[in-house]
Symmetry: C2
Subunit: 251 residues, 2 copies
């Protein structure tokens, strides 16, 4: 009974490591600076490399570090605020947004997309691929699914594929009157092709933004955008910048 109750919850080593490293990052390192390599750090802290890596992974998840194979581990700049929800709801591709058209193809979408669009599960839709640039870096890759019914005038005309085709699909889409839209954000991991577009490894954590565009009483298009979770902070509403700082560490 009378035993002093210290260490009721023995903190895992990697968790403690993360805290120590985090504080060191705040006080002793500048953005962009290269950390000692993993073997050296592990030795310095007296832990196995795997344990050290567990701490680094968490810090990378929080956007504090950036690791590149063959190069090293660097201190990451604060996350970039990326405006996702503007007040005015518009079709994709209007005026000067910072999306770049990549290409366009006709293909059968995943079942979940087909269901959301209420197209048949074997029905081909236009899939426009776009990339979003911010501060000279790709921050998002998007697949915009447009049922053929939404762009009826398109059939046969214009280029059969490529950016020209993508432009044509967006142009036709903008002829519809937009009734409203809908967004959802969730955590995911990067598919192989998205990872390549975002310069990350497959499986990297991403924020998945799903947008439904409504017109003529149905879902006229569905966008699935994959944002880099390590470098991006998605902003809604005002779109004003807010200061960023350490916010989710252990104390």
């Amino acid at each position: 009974m009378g035993t002093t109750q210290l260490e009721t919850v023995p903190e895992p080593k990697y968790w403690h490591l993360k805290t120590v490293l985090s504080e060191a990052l705040d006080s002793e390192f500048a953005v962009g600076e290269i950390l000692p390599n993993e073997r050296e750090l592990a030795a310095r802290f007296g832990v196995a490399r795997a344990t050290l890596r567990q701490a680094l992974e968490q810090l990378e998840l929080e956007g504090r570090l950036q690791r590149r194979r063959g190069v090293g581990t660097t201190v990451a700049p604060p996350r970039v605020g990326v405006a996702v929800g503007t007040e005015q709801q518009t079709w994709p591709g209007v005026n000067g947004d910072d999306w770049q058209l990549v290409d366009c193809a006709l293909a059968v979408p995943p079942a979940a997309v087909a269901d959301a669009l209420a197209t048949g599960r074997d029905e081909e839709v236009h899939i426009v691929r776009r990339t979003r640039m911010s501060h000279g870096q790709a921050v998002a890759a998007e697949l915009l699914h447009v049922p053929q019914a939404s762009v009826p005038e398109l059939s046969g005309i214009d280029a059969p594929s490529g950016p020209a085709r993508a432009r044509a699909v967006l142009r036709e889409l903008q002829r519809l009157e937009l009734d409203g839209q809908d967004r959802a954000v969730e955590l995911g991991s990067a598919r192989a092709d998205d990872a390549k577009a975002l310069d990350r490894l497959p499986g990297a954590p991403v924020l998945l933004v799903t947008t439904r565009f409504f017109a003529e009483g149905r879902t006229a298009a569905l966008s699935v955008a994959t944002y880099r979770a390590d470098t991006c902070r998605l902003t809604f509403g005002g779109g004003v910048e807010i200061h960023h700082g350490p916010e989710t560490q252990a104390s």
Copy 2:
């Protein structure tokens, strides 16, 4: 030269494993069903347990699996849609939202919060803690930071702490006229206390929703809400449910 170029990109074992498991989950398992334990699965696939775990971690990140120490690994239900951005902007705590007041304290917030509120870095603010329930489960924990200047009438009256105090702070806050608000979503890892409130381990991936409330020409309150990233899909706008399906696996 003439050599056939197979296996140009040798897929990591854990990645392939994840794909195989993912397909098995779709076809052979029902929601809530318990998978074989990790040692058994590793043996069955002929890999080390650590490798198997790497695959399971990814699937958990994508919301396909749920792992609980001492219990086992189960097939997770589809993510719950949680409405975060309603059309009408309101103060927290008005009418029947699904937040539960936990307590309230006067404390010095992290530097990042103090900066956003434009309070001094040593200035104490009211910190109201709330928990959001959905489908009988805690999906979010929130810290609502309210500068003392925003609730001047509060000083000294009412209960000094606890839920009653929290109620009083919110009541006073609602007397201000809300000029607008602002949201940002980013990836984070759960602090120890949030993890406990959300029934997860510390460091679990979370979606961090930061909301600024503007009134009287300044930031009158700042909310930092921590949502479980494994079980939640944050919805903005309509708030309508959309069908969920596998969307970010390798193919």
